[in-house]
C-alpha cells in the first residue's frame, strides 16, 4: 500500500504477538458522589489480524469497553482496576502528546451513526484529507490521497463525494467514508462500534463485505461491537459475550453460537427467531427479569437472578472464568449444564390460523401516494392492491424508501392518498383523512410505532395514556374504564404499580408495552406495527413478539407488520408483500415468499441477511442504492440494480405487471416463474444448504 508511506512506522518495528490485551479491566462511573462499577473484571485479547466481537444487549458495557481502550471515557468515568495494553503500550500511562499520537496512528474507531461523526458544515473531502494532514502530508497531496482512499472503499465517484457535504450522502456512503478515514492511518486496531446498525440490510451486507476485504488488505486487528448476533457471527473469528459489565463467555465465534456454555448466551440465542421459525411453531423463549443496575450485584454470579439453573452457590460464590474447552471460557459454575437451560416461556401455544374464505377486513385498491416536494413528484406508493383477512399478519418488507411506512400511514388516514385510491374497511369505503372518519372507523385501526419515546407523550402518566384511549376509542368512563384499564395493563404483562409512572421512567420494552396497550384499548380490527421491536434488545423483542402473537390469536386482530428484520417478519407473518419504490414486487404467503421462487429483489434482500450459524453464503449482490422515488427508472423500476436483468432490454423498456404466477402468489417480473425457479435452484446447489 502506498497510502500511508508517510506515516512513521519505526515505532512499531517490534510488534508484540497481540494487538490488544485487556486485563481484568474495571471501569467506574462517578454518579452523585458514588462510584458505580460499569465494567467488572473484563479480560480478553485480540491477536494480530484477528477480529474479535463483543456482543450483548444495551447497557452491558460494550461501548464503555471501547471508550476505555481509546481513553475516551467521559469525565466521570475512570479505569479503577486492571489495564489495557495496545501494541505493548499502556495508553493510560501516556502523556497528552503521546496519547494524541497513539490515537492518530495506532487505533481508529468507527461509530454507529456516520451522519453524526462527520462535521455537517465541512465538505467530505476536507475531512478525509485532514487525516493525512495531521500526519504531515501537504494539503493538495492529501486531497489526492483522499480520492484514492475513497476509491478503495468502493465509492464509484470519489470526486463527487469529496465535494459533497455529509447531508448530501446516504448513510451507507457516509459509513464507507468513515471506514476510509479510520483506515487511512493504517491502524493496528480498528474498533467498529455498531457500524451497520443504522443501515439497511442490503447496505449493511455491502459495508460488512467491505470491512472484511479491507481487513485482509490492511492486516488490521478488529474489535467489532454489535448487538446483532448474526453480524458478529459473520464478521468475527472470536467473540466475547457481555452481560451487565462482565464478560460472561468467550471463544471462537462459531463454537460459541453453536454450542453456548453460559446460560445468558443460551437465552439470548433462543430469543432470536431463526431458521424459519413461525409463530404457530411455538413461542420464542425469553430471559426473565431485568438487567441489574451497576453495582447492584456485589457477590455471586451477575446473571444468577435471571437464571433458571442458578442455586445457592451461584448467589454466594462469584464464578471465575472457567476454561470449558481449549480457547473457550465461561463465567458459570454449571457451564456444562448451560445448554439444558429450562425454557423461561412455555413453548406450547395454540394459535388460530386466519380463515381464508372470509370477506377481507381491509381492501386496498389502486392506492397511490405522491408527495410534491419542491416541484418534484415523489411517488412514494404506486397502485397498491391488497386484501387483509381477519386475524392474519401481512408483513411489509423492503429497504428504507420503499414506501412501507407511507403505505401504513395512508391506510390509517395520517397521509391523504392520491385521488382514485380506494380503502375499504369491511366493505365500506373509508374517508382518506382520519379526522373525517367516525369513531367506529378510528377504533378499528390503530398503530404501534417504532419509537416509543416519540409515540408516548412524555408528560402523561401510563394511566392517563391508556385511560384516554379507552375514553375516546372504547367510549368507556368511570368504573368500567378503570376495570378495563387494569385488564389491559395485565394483558400486556404490566402491573398496577406502573400506572402512575411517566414514560421516561420505564425501560424500552415497558414503554412499547404501554404503546401496545393503548393500541388495543379500542379493540381494533387492524393494527399497524411499524418496526415495533427494532429499537429494542433481542430478549425484549422476543417478549414483545410473543405478546403480539398471543393478543392476535385471542382478539383476532389483523396485523400489518413492518420490519427490516426478515427473521422477525417471517416469525409473525402469514402473508408478505415485498415493496420496492412504492410498488408491490412480490406478494404471497410467508412460506412461498421465503422458500421461493423469489422475485429477484426479494432474493437479494434475503441473501443480504447474515445468518447466525456463521456459514458464509454467496450473496446476490445488490449494488447501488435505492433510486429516488422522484425519478423512478423506466421499465421495471428494479432493473437498475437487478442481478437477473434480461439481456434483451425488455426490463429497461416496459414495466411488468403484478400477475398471479401461482395460486395466491403474485409477482412483478418479466422472467417466467419456472425460469426463476430453475435459476435459483441451480444457484442454491452451488453453495452449502443452510438450514
Amino acid at each position: 500500500m502506498t497510502l500511508a508511506t508517510s506515516f512513521d512506522q519505526t515505532a512499531v518495528v517490534e510488534q508484540p504477538p497481540t494487538t490488544l490485551e485487556v486485563n481484568h479491566l474495571d471501569v467506574a462511573y462517578r454518579v452523585r458522589g458514588n462510584d458505580r462499577l460499569a465494567l467488572r473484571d473484563v479480560s480478553f485479547s485480540i491477536g494480530r489480524q484477528e477480529s474479535f466481537g463483543l456482543v450483548g444487549e444495551s447497557g452491558c458495557g460494550k461501548s464503555t469497553t471501547a471508550l476505555a481502550i481509546t481513553q475516551y471515557l467521559p469525565r466521570n468515568g475512570r479505569l479503577s482496576g486492571g489495564s489495557v495494553i495496545v501494541n505493548g503500550q499502556d495508553p493510560a500511562k501516556m502523556d497528552k502528546a503521546s496519547l494524541r499520537r497513539f490515537r492518530a496512528r495506532t487505533i481508529s474507531m468507527v461509530y454507529q451513526e456516520p451522519g453524526r461523526a462527520l462535521n455537517p458544515s465541512i465538505r467530505v473531502g476536507r475531512q478525509v484529507a485532514e487525516v493525512y494532514e495531521i500526519a504531515g502530508t501537504k494539503r493538495h497531496e492529501a486531497l489526492a490521497r483522499a480520492e484514492e482512499l475513497l476509491r478503495m472503499v468502493q465509492i464509484a465517484d470519489p470526486g463527487r463525494v469529496l465535494h459533497s457535504y455529509p447531508h448530501q450522502l446516504s448513510g451507507g456512503m457516509l459509513q464507507r467514508v468513515m471506514i476510509a478515514m479510520a483506515l487511512a492511518s493504517e491502524p493496528s486496531l480498528l474498533i467498529l462500534d455498531e457500524p451497520t446498525t443504522a443501515l439497511d440490510a442490503t447496505v449493511e451486507a455491502e459495508v460488512l463485505d467491505l470491512v472484511s476485504s479491507l481487513r485482509q488488505r490492511f492486516q488490521t486487528s478488529v474489535l467489532f461491537i454489535s448487538h446483532n448476533l448474526a453480524v458478529i457471527a459473520k464478521m468475527c473469528d472470536r467473540v466475547g459475550v457481555m452481560y451487565a459489565g462482565e464478560l460472561v463467555e468467550q471463544g471462537p465465534a462459531r463454537e460459541v453460537f453453536n454450542n453456548p456454555r453460559h446460560p445468558y448466551t443460551v437465552g439470548l440465542l433462543r430469543c432470536v427467531p431463526r431458521g424459519g421459525q413461525r409463530k404457530d411453531h411455538g413461542r420464542l423463549d425469553t430471559i426473565p427479569g431485568f438487567l441489574p443496575g451497576p453495582g447492584e450485584v456485589q457477590v455471586g454470579c451477575i446473571f444468577a437472578r435471571r437464571c433458571a439453573l442458578a442455586d445457592q452457590r451461584c448467589l454466594e460464590e462469584t464464578p471465575p472464568m472457567y476454561e470449558v474447552a481449549p480457547g473457550r471460557t465461561a463465567r458459570c459454575h454449571y457451564h456444562e449444564r448451560a445448554p439444558q437451560l429450562p425454557r423461561a416461556t412455555p413453548e406450547d401455544v395454540q394459535l388460530r390460523r386466519p380463515g381464508s374464505a372470509e370477506q377481507p377486513v381491509i381492501r386496498l385498491r389502486a392506492v397511490s401516494k405522491t408527495f410534491h416536494v419542491r416541484g418534484e413528484h415523489v411517488r412514494a406508493v404506486v397502485g397498491v392492491d391488497l386484501d387483509l383477512k381477519a386475524g392474519e399478519t401481512l408483513g411489509l418488507v423492503g429497504e428504507s424508501g420503499s414506501g412501507k411506512t407511507t403505505l401504513a400511514r395512508v391506510l390509517l388516514g395520517l397521509s391523504v392518498p392520491d385521488a382514485g385510491s380506494v380503502i375499504e374497511l369491511e366493505g365500506s369505503p373509508l374517508a382518506p383523512e382520519c379526522t373525517k372518519r367516525d369513531r367506529k372507523q378510528l377504533q378499528a385501526m390503530q398503530i404501534v410505532f417504532q419509537n416509543p419515546d416519540s409515540a408516548l407523550n412524555r408528560r402523561h402518566s401510563v394511566r392517563h395514556i391508556i385511560t384516554r384511549a379507552l375514553n375516546k376509542l372504547a367510549g368507556l368512563s368511570g368504573q368500567a374504564c378503570e376495570q378495563r384499564l387494569l385488564e389491559i395493563v395485565r394483558s400486556v404483562r404490566m402491573e398496577e404499580r406502573h400506572l402512575p409512572l411517566r414514560p421516561y421512567q420505564l425501560s424500552g420494552g415497558l414503554k412499547q408495552r404501554v404503546a401496545i396497550a393503548r393500541a388495543f384499548a379500542g379493540a381494533p380490527r387492524v393494527l399497524v406495527c411499524d418496526e415495533p421491536t427494532s429499537a429494542l434488545d433481542v430478549s425484549v423483542q422476543a417478549a414483545i413478539l410473543n405478546l403480539l402473537a398471543d393478543l392476535q390469536s385471542r382478539e383476532r386482530v389483523t396485523y400489518v407488520f413492518i420490519s427490516h428484520d426478515l427473521g422477525v417478519v417471517r416469525y409473525l407473518s402469514d402473508s408478505i408483500a415485498v415493496l420496492y419504490l412504492g410498488r408491490v414486487m412480490q406478494y404471497g404467503s410467508a412460506e412461498t415468499v421465503f422458500s421461493g421462487p423469489h422475485h429477484p429483489y426479494t432474493e437479494s434482500l434475503l441473501s443480504a441477511v447474515p445468518s447466525l450459524d456463521g456459514t458464509p453464503r454467496e450473496r446476490i449482490r445488490l449494488t447501488g442504492e435505492i433510486p429516488s422515488a422522484a425519478r423512478s427508472p423506466s421499465g421495471c423500476v428494479f432493473h437498475t440494480r437487478c442481478p437477473r436483468r434480461l439481456a434483451n432490454g425488455l426490463c429497461e423498456s416496459s414495466e411488468p405487471a403484478l400477475v398471479e404466477v401461482e395460486p395466491g402468489h403474485m409477482m412483478r417480473c418479466h422472467i417466467p416463474i419456472a425460469e426463476l425457479r430453475s435459476m435459483q435452484a441451480s444457484d442454491a446447489a452451488r453453495q452449502p444448504k443452510i438450514s
Binding site: G59, L442, E495, Q505, A543
Partner: protein, 311 residues
C-alpha cells in the same frame, strides 16, 4: 454552568420484563426516579444556586415594599414639603429629598407597587395569549401560520416601546391599558418562541396517535403539546417580565405610564433628571438603581430556572 453536579450519567439502561410470566414481582422494571423526585431535585438545585438566591432576595424585598411599603416607609411618599426641597442624603433623609420636598427613599419604596402590579399581569396576559397563538401557529401551520407570522414580523420590526407608546397615546394611559398594550406586544414575541417549540413536537408520533383517537384540535394543542413546551414558556415568561419592567419604566419616563404624584420610578427619573445638571444626583440615581436591581433580580432568577430546566 451550575457547579457541583455532573450531568453525565453512564450509559446504563434499565432492563425489561423479558420473560413476562416468570418475572419476579419485585423486580425493578422502572427506573427508580419518580416525577416528584425529579421536581424535588430540580428545586434543590435551584435553591443551591447563588444567582437564584440573590435574585430571589432582591425580588422579595421589592415585593415586600410593594405590599407593605406605605406602612414602613419613613415618610409619606406624597408629602410635599416646601421647606425641605432638594436636600442631599442625610441621616434624616437617607436618599435625600426631591424638588417638592418628598422623601426619595419613601418614594422608591412605595414606587415598587405599580410596577410590580402591572409588569407581572402584563407578562402573564402576554404569555397566555402568546402561547395560544404559538400553539395554533405551530400545530395548524398553513395559511393561519403564514398570516399570523407576517403580522408578528410587522409588529416586531418596531421597538416594543414605540408600539406601546402609540397605543397609549391613542387610548390614554391607565393601568389597564398598560397591561393590555404590553401584554399584546409581548404575546407576539412569545408566540414566535412557542411556535418554534411546537414545530419540534408536531411530527412526533404521539400527535399522530392522538389524531387516530379522534382528539379535537384544542385537545391536541393544550393537553398533548402544551405540557411538552412548558419549559421554554416558563423561561420566556421570566425574560419578558424583566423587559416588561423596563418598558413600563420607560413609558412612565416618557409620561405615559403611572401619573404623578403617585410615586413611580420611571416618572421620578423623568422629573428629577432636569436637576441632574444642577448636582442633585440622588433624586435620579436611587429610582434608577431600583429599576436596575429589579430587572437584574428577575434575570438572575430566569437564568437559574433555565439552567435547571435545560438539564
Amino acid at each position: 454552568m451550575t457547579a457541583g453536579t455532573d450531568p453525565r450519567v453512564p450509559p446504563v439502561a434499565a432492563g425489561d420484563a423479558g420473560g413476562a410470566e416468570g418475572s419476579p414481582a419485585g423486580a425493578a422494571g422502572a427506573l427508580d426516579v419518580s416525577v416528584k423526585q425529579v421536581r424535588r431535585e430540580q428545586l434543590h438545585q435551584l435553591v443551591r444556586s447563588k444567582p437564584f438566591l440573590v435574585g430571589a432576595l432582591i425580588l422579595l424585598w421589592w415585593i415586600v415594599c410593594a405590599i407593605f411599603g406605605t406602612s414602613f416607609a419613613p415618610y409619606s411618599a406624597t408629602a410635599a414639603n416646601i421647606v425641605s426641597t432638594q436636600l442631599a442624603p442625610s441621616a434624616a433623609h437617607w436618599f435625600g429629598t426631591n424638588d417638592v420636598g418628598e422623601d426619595v427613599l419613601s418614594r422608591v419604596i412605595v414606587g415598587a407597587r405599580d410596577i410590580l402590579e402591572i409588569a407581572p399581569l402584563a407578562t402573564l396576559f402576554g404569555t397566555v395569549v402568546g402561547t395560544t397563538i404559538g400553539l395554533a401557529q405551530g400545530y395548524l401551520r398553513g395559511a393561519f401560520d403564514m398570516i399570523v407570522g407576517r403580522i408578528v414580523d410587522a409588529a416586531l420590526s418596531l421597538p416594543t416601546v414605540i408600539v406601546a407608546f402609540l397605543f397609549v397615546v391613542a387610548v390614554g394611559p391607565s393601568t389597564f391599558t398598560l397591561i393590555m398594550v404590553i401584554g399584546f406586544v409581548f404575546s407576539l414575541i412569545i408566540a414566535r418562541t412557542v411556535r418554534t417549540a411546537v414545530l419540534g413536537e408536531r411530527d412526533l408520533d404521539y400527535i399522530a396517535a392522538a389524531r387516530l383517537r379522534g382528539e379535537s384540535v384544542l385537545h391536541v394543542m393544550f393537553v398533548e403539546i402544551l405540557p411538552n413546551v412548558l419549559g421554554p414558556i416558563i423561561v420566556e415568561f421570566t425574560v419578558r417580565l424583566g423587559y416588561a419592567i423596563f418598558t413600563i419604566a420607560t413609558l412612565s419616563f416618557l409620561g405615559f405610564g403611572v401619573q404623578l404624584p403617585t410615586p413611580d420610578w420611571g416618572a421620578d427619573i423623568a422629573v428629577n433628571s432636569n436637576y441632574l445638571a444642577a448636582g442633585y444626583w440622588w433624586e435620579t440615581l436611587f429610582p434608577a438603581l431600583a429599576i436596575a436591581s429589579l430587572v437584574i433580580a428577575i434575570n438572575l432568577i430566569g437564568d437559574s430556572i433555565e439552567a435547571v430546566l435545560v438539564q
